[in-house]
Symmetry: C2
Subunit: 497 residues, 2 copies
């Protein structure tokens, strides 16, 4: 059956979305406009998921054709003389060596204005009980960088790159006043369209009343985390709803960074990675979600809902496939509760294919997919079966927070985001050493230096085309995958706007 599902994956990888759009669609840079409708809605029409490259690259049709060429694998970056990315962020990307027709990575870099949602009947919400509208504070900006690594088609990655920041904006709109108020967030809001009558009548808000014995303190930070988590969920739901009309097959990993009020929120769902390099020290800002790292969550789900395995799979893990003739022998296994291994007598049921199988980059869920979090994949099934993979995939990111105000950053301190095309062949230390090497060869105030770092990281992971394929200087295989990299200076908007 392994072969069977492998063919399924090849089939899916080869099945591509609609052809390239020669002009990237216009990017809405402001979310939550005055109309109060969903800023993340599909109002742009049916072409939003059509193949393109990031708008900020401003590629001409000729440049787009060059970027899409698997033999040259030209590295793409924002050009001098065109619009510079916020904070002088560096970016570079390269297409894969032929595993899919198009580059299935996508990127987005935006400054988004979050406008406070108008309260019912035009009144601004107030939460201090004073009845005074909060005049003059209508919203705030957040900075945003994101990488999307598509699989089995580019549609999900393209759509997420155009929409996820709008979903985040949408989630933050209700929090505009709360996040700007230094007092702890209210546990229960007085305001709601159904309740505006009571509020207008001057009722005392319940937050001014004596509190319950037990009440958990909730931080502003955790509200932003919750907003980002729910934005990922809504993004996934939007892909589900529009996948037919937008011709979206497949899914994508998503790594998104929100800079808001002095803090980075690094949200990761998939196998991309973010690290901070500060004074030469490496600070991991994400972890990868794969069949191996999420084994116990997946096994737990399969154990509780065996019907999801469709009588084809077992929730137990074995170090290799079992042969029918080994029935009755003792073999190593582990279940959803175990981290170690033990021997068990092989029974009929153990001959089914394991839910989790393979190691490292070859590990798969139901022999089909090698990442366990991300957006899309709503139609993904085990080959020639009716077994859906999606219940095992999670669209929820892990969000890590880095407080920029807690440390004095120098111009060489950066946050590096990369898709797995980078990290498959280049480890954290090597990335840190390239960062330092390149940055020291440019003046600290040269705004191009972060782009140079991103290009060098992509080049060193891609390698050089030789007779035996793309090779690194040490003659090992370079990455044949799409590679995308952001290099974000930590000096912040004050230094690098």
């Amino acid at each position: 059956m392994l072969l069977r599902v492998r063919s399924a994956v090849s089939h899916l990888v080869a099945g591509l979305g609609p052809g390239p759009g020669t002009q990237p669609p216009a990017e809405p840079r402001h979310g939550g406009g005055g109309g109060g409708g969903s800023g993340a809605g599909g109002e742009e029409g049916p072409r939003v998921a059509a193949f393109c490259r990031p708008a900020f690259l401003q590629l001409t049709p000729e440049e787009l054709r060059r970027a899409d060429d698997h033999t040259g694998r030209a590295v793409q970056s924002p050009r001098d003389g065109r619009r510079r990315l916020p904070w002088s962020t560096g970016y570079a990307e390269v297409i894969n060596a032929g595993k899919s027709q198009h580059n299935e990575d996508q990127a987005c870099c935006e400054v988004v204005f979050v406008e406070r949602r108008p309260s019912p009947r035009g009144r601004l919400p107030c939460r201090d009980g004073s009845g005074e509208p909060n005049r003059g504070r209508k919203g705030f900006y957040f900075h945003y960088w994101a990488l999307f690594d598509g699989h089995a088609g580019s549609g999900a990655a393209v759509m997420a790159s155009k929409r996820l920041h709008l979903h985040i904006c949408e989630q933050l709109r209700d929090l505009v006043d709360i996040l700007q108020d230094p007092s702890p967030p209210p546990i229960c809001l007085q305001h709601d369209s159904e309740l505006s009558q009571a509020e207008d009548n001057g009722d005392v808000p319940s937050d001014a009343l004596p509190r319950f014995h037990l009440e958990k303190a909730v931080s502003h930070e955790s509200l932003v985390i919750g907003a980002i988590e729910n934005a990922f969920k809504h993004m996934d739901e939007q892909i589900e709803q529009e996948r037919a009309s937008q011709h979206i097959s497949g899914g994508c990993c998503a790594l998104a960074v929100v800079y808001l009020m002095g803090k980075f929120y690094v949200a990761n769902a998939g196998d991309s990675r973010a690290i901070i390099i500060r004074n030469g020290e490496i600070i991991p800002m994400s972890r990868e979600f794969t069949p191996e790292t999420e084994r116990q969550r997946l096994q737990f789900l399969a154990f509780l809902r065996p019907e999801l395995l469709g009588k084809e799979f077992t929730h137990l893990e074995f170090p290799r496939r079992i042969q029918p003739k080994e029935l009755g022998k003792k073999m190593l296994y582990r279940d959803q509760s175990m981290n170690g291994w033990a021997y068990k007598k092989i029974e009929e049921d153990d001959l089914k294919f394991p839910l989790i199988y393979g190691e490292g980059k070859k590990a798969r869920v139901m022999a089909t997919i090698g990442v366990t979090r991300g957006l899309g994949d709503h139609d993904l099934k085990v080959f020639s079966s009716n077994i859906h993979i999606k219940p095992f995939l999670s669209c929820f990111p892990e969000v890590r927070v880095y407080d920029l105000t807690q440390y004095e950053h120098c111009p060489d301190d950066v946050l590096v985001l990369g898709t797995d095309g980078l990290w498959d062949v280049t480890n954290d230390k090597e990335v840190a050493s390239v960062v330092m090497e390149v940055l020291t060869s440019y003046e600290p105030n040269d705004p191009c230096r972060y782009t140079m770092v991103a290009q060098e990281l992509v080049l060193r992971s891609r390698g050089i085309l030789k007779e035996r394929g793309w090779r690194l200087p040490n003659d090992k295989l370079g990455s044949g995958d799409d590679i995308s990299v952001f290099v974000i200076p930590l000096g912040g908007p004050g230094n690098y706007m």
Copy 2:
């Protein structure tokens, strides 16, 4: 309903097991005897779970009465002139200030011989295909220390203190040859009672045949971890089976340390804690399993199996109880996928009691229990309901490994184990400073020094009885809980046997 379930807890805490046995039963110090039966079985008769203190304390009936006195709260340690614990391990304990009739903590310290299980028809198993029995290697020893913190009765803790090491021994018996062989453990064993015929006929073992393309390497260490994990499971099953005949109510947290072939395996299920103090540095060797730390696992289970909540509870978490009059307002919540918080409109279903409620030591699962891993609790229900708590509790420990051979240890380096009675009032740093303070006042080769540390740790957490209860030097409340502490020198058996 909160009050209702609180009364349930008080009721359970007051409901005690059988009265104290004046003599602790004899301890079997060797597991896996020649008979080949279960070394962890209930062959000792119906008194195995009767109340007692650890056998190694060798308390006289008069001493036992003193140890059980809540007003004096005398600290108990192994006495000079009686049997010394292996490695000159230090131990001390004290009873609670009155919250339960007996000290519900238990402790065990043993050196256990693991005898290789005889193969079918007297042949020793061989795994190298040579057909040569492994003469002269019949087993190995492991060192063992464990703390059990009982709740709602002492029976589970007493039984686990007498049996868990035997279950570990039982699990290790099949691994005697494998663990002593430096080559990687076999994925599939040839030997099995049903298969001995084939083996005797000289069949080539399958491990000598060409291997599959994909085969995961499994380490010796992970086999020991698996053995300990399964031992906890079997211990829990034994408590379930014998709880009626042994009059066991309630359950216990379990923290067990196995020293085997140069490594500590620290297995924790509950809210006890282990730390290593090495050259003044603190190395955490466990984490606590509470409703807060395991929130997402519990919510995930409740989300997938809502029938376990019996229509009384919601799997969502809220920062406080919701009042019926707040229906329709927006309140902070988080579900099984979220780490942050967001607002949702309160619906009828949200008025149910939250699965997880309260903060810190007051956090509870279904308003009933404050720990989420451990042994026992098979009859625990939400008060005046038929809702079982057990499906939410896990008997599986997290096992952390510390390789003693990777570092040159000095006589002041120790592993400290403590029940929550210690850690509720004394943090890691304070424990480390007491350890250093006491050890420096004794000669490095004085075998009593680790007992002195354990006593001092217990004394400082208990405090002194004043008019307003047990007080620490800073006048804060001392721990009113049972307190038990092991202090294990890391010099190892070579230095301290």
